[in-house]
């Protein structure tokens, strides 16, 4: 087998140029996923009537849809829907003028929201009922209890899974080549299209993903330590 190290390095260089796209594709959906996911988790945790059940249905549907399928559904729905709307309103903007990265943001945010809502719901159940009772007994309202007592205890529980969620998003964002967005993987593959040295290109992309994910893991490990200072350390 012939492994072209020099080509791999040049593919690496290309993918490094587009690493920020991958990061953006992971961090934006992650941010909105935490925002929407936490709200969904709280609504479902408190069993809000009707809304809670609707959101459960939403989560089940989104969770059961593969990332690639979701991306393509959102892509075609938006493209076709957009042109219909812009025709009825006689707008000059066409679907082909939309930056495709926004479609990727929308699809990945949907996937992230469903996953992170389950992470947060799990973390909420980890807080003992006695914490609510004590909080109510000193006169805190439901909202104050949630903000001051429950969420600060649920967050450290959620951190390791949130880390996995983010890593999942970083890896999952590689699907955006399907809708011709250039991310770090696509950038590594483009030069390989001319010389068929795909192995080198994929290994270059893998190396960047690996470094990114190690950095993310370290950040979350630090966060976890920082947020759980109140817990007793387990001796092993």
């Amino acid at each position: 087998m012939n492994f072209d190290v020099y080509f791999m390095l040049s593919a690496l260089q290309e993918s490094l140029k587009y690493t920020w796209v991958t990061l953006l594709l992971a961090i934006v959906p992650f941010f909105f996923g935490i925002l929407f996911g936490t709200v969904i988790a709280i609504i479902r945790f408190y069993r809000v009537k009707v809304l809670g059940e609707l959101l459960q249905l939403f989560v089940v549907i989104i969770k059961g849809t593969p990332g690639m399928v979701m991306l393509l559904i959102v892509y075609f729905a938006l493209i076709q829907g957009f042109d219909t709307i812009s025709q009825t309103f006689h707008l000059a903007v066409k679907s082909k003028d939309i930056n495709l990265i926004y479609i990727a943001f929308a699809a990945l945010t949907l996937t992230a929201t469903a996953a992170i809502s389950e992470t947060m719901r799990g973390a909420l159940t980890a807080v003992a009922t006695g914490q609510y009772e004590a909080s109510y007994s000193v006169g805190l309202t439901k909202r104050q209890t949630l903000r001051r007592i429950i969420l600060p205890q649920a967050l450290p529980v959620a951190i390791p899974v949130l880390c996995s969620n983010l890593i999942g998003l970083i890896k999952g964002s590689s699907l955006v080549f399907m809708i011709s967005v250039t991310d770090l993987m696509n950038a590594a593959l483009i030069p390989a299209n001319t010389n068929y040295k795909y192995l080198e290109a994929y290994i270059a992309a893998a190396l960047v993903y690996w470094v990114l994910n190690v950095v993310v893991e370290n950040i979350f490990f630090w966060l976890e330590q920082h947020l759980s200072t109140y817990k007793r350390e387990v001796l092993v």
């Binding site: 003992a128 914490q131 007994s137 000193v138 006169g139 805190l140 109140y230």
Partner: protein, 250 residues
């Protein structure tokens, strides 16, 4: 000061409280005793709405509520006049001892931070934890945690403090430190309703003892009335089981 009339509570088909009337005067120390499942804890938890009673009325200070139709505003008003000490302490795990004591003052009652800290420190000193202000609950022993729990209740300066078996989760060597603190505050004239299985402690601090069984108050009176001259057969049976040595002395 507290008047509860005809309180009923059922969990599904299991009727736990079958129409109880209780009246507590200001500064009175009431101890509730009785076998497990007699409804003691449920009665206590209905007072500050940790359980919602099915029917009955309560007057606490100037607040009057019907248990079933209490609005969340009324519930909050009641909770801000009461405090509770739990069997399993239930200290806020994410807060230090001092922050635990300050939480209800700062967040619920909007006491300025500096004043709340001062009250909090005084209360912790009072329960003998002057050196543990900044310790998290995970670093405290059971007895210490429960004393923080008592300080947290005291700091709120409530009309009444509800004690739900405060020593049942402690090992015997730590029970006395908690009981000593409770005795001290009982002597200060704070209104207390205590559910406990510590009979000699009950005898010691109670102004009045209620004996509950099967969801009703079977008998009540001064410690002497109950422990020495119980009239009801059920009371005698219970006391004989729980404090056998008493039957030898009499």
């Amino acid at each position: 000061m507290i008047k509860i009339t005809d309180i009923h509570k059922a969990f599904g088909k299991n009727e736990v409280l079958k129409g109880i009337d209780v009246e507590v005067a200001k500064g009175e120390v009431i101890v509730i005793i009785g076998p497990s499942g007699s409804g003691k804890t449920t009665l206590l938890r209905c007072i500050n709405f940790l359980e919602k009673a099915d029917s009955g009325k309560m007057t606490l200070g100037s607040t009057q509520v019907a248990f079933k139709h209490a609005t969340s505003k009324e519930i909050l008003a009641i909770r801000r006049q009461t405090a509770m000490v739990f069997q399993s302490y239930n200290l806020f795990n994410n807060k230090t001892a001092l922050e635990n004591v300050m939480e209800g003052l700062v967040t619920a009652r909007k006491v300025p931070l500096r004043q709340a800290a001062e009250i909090g420190k005084n209360m912790l000193d009072k329960v003998g934890l002057a050196d543990k202000h900044n310790a998290y609950p995970s670093r405290l022993s059971g007895g210490q945690q429960q004393r923080v729990g008592i300080a947290r209740a005291l700091a709120l300066n409530p009309e009444v403090i509800l004690f739900d078996e405060p020593t049942s989760a402690l090992d015997p060597t730590l029970v006395s430190e908690v009981l000593a603190v409770m005795k001290k505050i009982a002597q200060e004239g704070i209104t207390m309703i205590v559910v406990t299985h510590e009979m000699s402690f009950a005898y010691d601090i109670a102004n009045r003892i209620l004996f509950m069984d099967g969801g009703v108050i079977v008998e009540q009176g001064t410690p002497k009335d109950l422990f020495v001259n119980a009239k009801e057969e059920r009371t005698k049976q219970f006391l004989k089981r729980i404090v056998p040595e008493w039957s030898y002395n009499i």
